[in-house]
Symmetry: C2
């Protein structure tokens, strides 16, 4: 019998504290849907009433969000020191949010009660008891986040136990032990959670809430489960302030695939990779390629030694089946690639390459990667390169010239591109304005070529990335452009490299259009 461990997601509150991230109300709704699709037990929505955006979010959530698996939770805090529960604005906002469950943060470290709140330990304990009692009287399930629990416990376990008891006695369903400044190590967490479990028994679910300041938030959360916790709080992709919150995307498979715990309903863990990427996209923040389980490099194999070993024994370098989390094995082709890797890739793509052609591909890769190309990230350009090595050449169009003019006069910027191409016997000349240079050349090229190829109308660019290589030379450095396009059925990425960002973009754009026409649905 596998032991259930609840997953409590705080991406919509703690996660959004990460530097550089902001989310609209629409974004938050989309993320909540994804979390429900994944099947976490609780979705924390934020502080109702904290600001206009959160007020609108809770209003929209009440009407627009229909969750099938998860419980939606409003977050708040205990009543103020020396205040009354029925006059407390935060508690009132919590009730107004009209969620079946609420999570409140409570001070559980004695010096935070006496120093930060400037009140007595008796009052600190009463704030918790009163607030739990009040919310329970209004039929809410009450979870209590015990702030600074581990530091407080190390300094004065007696008060930390009192804080826990105040919540438990009044009927909180969960006490969640928080390592608020993220400084605890796994052996400390396991030991303290074990003591808490011995103290409170099974009257209440013990939860854990970690931050990654020592790089141990994942291990700390698992150590807590070993100590008796059955509820884990964290965020998707480890989003969060400073070094981030405990990364649920790692914790869930560690508990469920490698140990005897169940975190998600049957058939949901396979959605982990796609949900992780969708949430990242919504926040316009790519998933770290090196992220365990869900990163694009998590099951990528590059060194010659390993690629040949993988073909022999996948488990030698894959600790779990990537499909179990919805990810896949990826053989990385780079200048270090050997003949076997290129052959494997060609077979994958259905391209027939003989010996000299394979050598040609290897030579091209070495030369181009030396210039700054990076085909690991641009499968479509790699495919075109391999097709060319096999003797193929596209005849969709031929570019005669391109010209781009940008000027500023009195703070107004204008950009226009002129593209001249030949398609078969016809010559097309088009000029297009754009809100930027790439937009202008994209529009001009598509107009010039699109008349002959209606399939182009279904293709559009979805992502444009620019990386400056060798930042040491600043604006004189080489620029690498990655363009991703879609035709609604498949996505592809092409690459262009040049000291001139316009030229790099233009190369990637040409490849992108050629690949799209080559694979146009018939």
């Amino acid at each position: 019998m596998s032991t259930p461990v609840e997953i409590f997601d705080t991406t919509l509150r703690d996660g959004l504290q990460v530097e550089g991230v902001t989310a609209t109300v629409e974004d938050k709704l989309r993320i909540a849907e994804q979390l429900d699709h994944l099947g976490v037990h609780f979705i924390e929505g934020g502080w109702p009433g904290a600001n206009p955006k959160d007020i609108e979010f809770f209003a929209r959530a009440a009407t627009d969000l229909s969750l099938t698996t998860s419980t939606f939770v409003a977050f708040g805090s205990t009543r103020r020191p020396r205040g009354k529960v029925d006059e407390d604005q935060t508690l009132q906002h919590l009730l107004d949010a009209n969620t079946s469950a609420v999570c409140i943060v409570a001070k559980s470290s004695d010096d935070h009660v006496t120093e930060a709140l400037k009140t007595t330990l008796d009052e600190g304990s009463a704030m918790i008891a009163d607030s739990v009692e009040f919310l329970l009287a209004h039929d809410r399930q009450v979870l209590v986040d015990m702030e600074h629990f581990f530091d407080g416990f190390k300094a004065n376990p007696e008060f930390s136990f009192r804080a826990l008891e105040a919540a438990v006695v009044k009927g909180a369903s969960h006490v969640v032990l928080c390592d608020t400044n993220g400084g605890s190590l796994p052996h400390e967490v396991e030991d303290i959670v074990r003591q808490v479990h011995a103290h409170v028994g099974n009257d209440v679910v013990i939860g854990i809430h970690c931050h990654d300041d020592t790089g141990c938030a994942v291990a700390n959360s698992m150590a807590a489960v070993r100590g008796g916790a059955r509820h884990v709080q964290g965020t998707l992709n480890g989003l969060g302030e400073r070094t981030g919150n405990a990364n649920l995307t790692s914790i869930i498979p560690n508990l469920q695939l490698k140990q005897d715990y169940t975190c998600l309903p049957e058939g949901r863990i396979e959605r982990l990779t796609v949900v992780s990427h969708r949430v990242a996209e919504t926040l316009n923040r790519a998933v770290d390629p090196q992220a365990p389980y869900v990163g694009s490099s998590a099951f990528a194999h590059k060194a010659g030694l390993h690629v040949s070993a993988i073909a022999r024994a996948k488990d030698a370098y894959e600790h779990v089946d990537p499909a179990a989390v919805g990810n896949g094995t990826r053989f990385v082709v780079s200048e270090m690639a050997g003949r076997a890797t290129i052959q494997m890739k060609a077979d994958d793509l259905g391209i027939e390459l003989d010996g000299p052609a394979i050598n040609g591909v290897i030579d091209d890769l070495k030369r181009l990667e030396h210039e700054g190309y990076h085909f690991e990230a641009a499968d479509a350009s790699l495919e075109l390169l391999m097709r060319r090595a096999a003797g193929w050449q596209h005849d969709f169009f031929e570019v005669e010239s391109m010209r781009l003019i940008t000027d500023e006069l009195g703070d107004v910027f204008n950009t226009e591109a002129t593209v001249k191409v030949r398609v078969g016997d016809e010559r097309h000349v088009f000029t297009a304005e754009g809100n930027g240079p790439v937009n202008a050349i994209d529009t001009a090229l598509r107009r010039a070529v699109g008349r002959a190829y209606p399939a182009l109308a279904d293709i559009h660019l979805t992502d444009y990335k620019v990386r400056i290589l060798d930042g040491g030379e600043a604006t004189g450095a080489v620029t690498r452009v990655l363009l991703t396009a879609t035709n609604g059925e498949r996505d592809w990425t092409t690459i262009g490299v040049s000291a001139n960002i316009i030229e790099a973009s233009w190369r990637a754009l040409e490849d992108s259009v050629v690949y799209g026409l080559l694979h146009a649905p018939s």
Copy 2:
């Protein structure tokens, strides 16, 4: 008495397996110098003889690298199955590298011996014994990396113990237990290392080598130390294949600042942040802002609640003193910033802001961050914004117009920029070619303004970053440009945002020049 734990850095071998990273021989020499500056015990240089680049690196290291603290290590493997040590090419390369210490990888998992090497367990054990004996006879210190140790031990501990004994009996100084596919969890690692320690005693140093496939490489390394390991292998910034190697940048302070171990010589751990960033720069790969201890966000405080709490009690949200690792507290100014944060920042910069001016700054931040500006990353632009709010305006120069033309004709790209400015009563018109648009406008602006301000000659751009916001709109999306410049004494970063990448670059460039002139050394 603090217990010593040796640090063995494999950034130059395992670290360079990370996708997207390549290093020149110069880069590798610079990284080795930085590792020595930090004071790690061992620096592993790679496989001598593996390829021309590594051959050159070991030759250059022998002549150009003078290490004051670290021991330089060549990496290789045991002899081939059924081969002889004195005819083995890899062992010969190891000797040719002429390092005092060598590290060899050995199969310590029974099925890798029988399945991958296709030989007997007796031969597997003999390969280890013979190789250690041979290298020792040539006066080398020998460390043995036990590949797939944990998986092998779980399946057949008997052979794993035999493999260890073969190395120990012949005089290896270290046996390093490797979690090669990265799938082990901390409690397993601690348990197995404890068993190994009980078995081999203190005749040999036990090492640990982890990968981050479960997000636990840091915790696994520490668990091994709890089990008796006294040697930790890893990479700076957790660089490495797939999800990366164990991150020494987290492990070192976790062991040395939070537990009773010593990893680096006296006075060196303070260099951790700068060395981490220099190595990242050398590999043209930024340090993750969220990296524990050394990331730019590791001690950054953003949420209103926290910034006021920090002022009260720094340790509430800082688990160690950031100065202990050479990092610092950072108060993040963003649209969420309150009056107190702005006031603190203004005081920092010596700008006098009254109440209405502070409100003006907050309004400007909200509006500009909504447009896509992001002042957290652009301190210089933030300072200019705050100075403007205090009534300041620069009179260094006034731009009349800018024009940029890029064209392609027969595969040749040309770019030129024309800038017209007024400096005082004089009007300057300059045209410059560039290898890209930003280079051209930078050169033209500097020529036009530089005649009046000789200080400009000492200022140059060191970094140029482009981020496409809201990738969903692809080339029609908003572009954020960050430019970093230096005058040799200080560095500063400015920002520009626009749908037009040229306009964004131009805005950042103007701010950069203005800031440089404002702070020119007198």
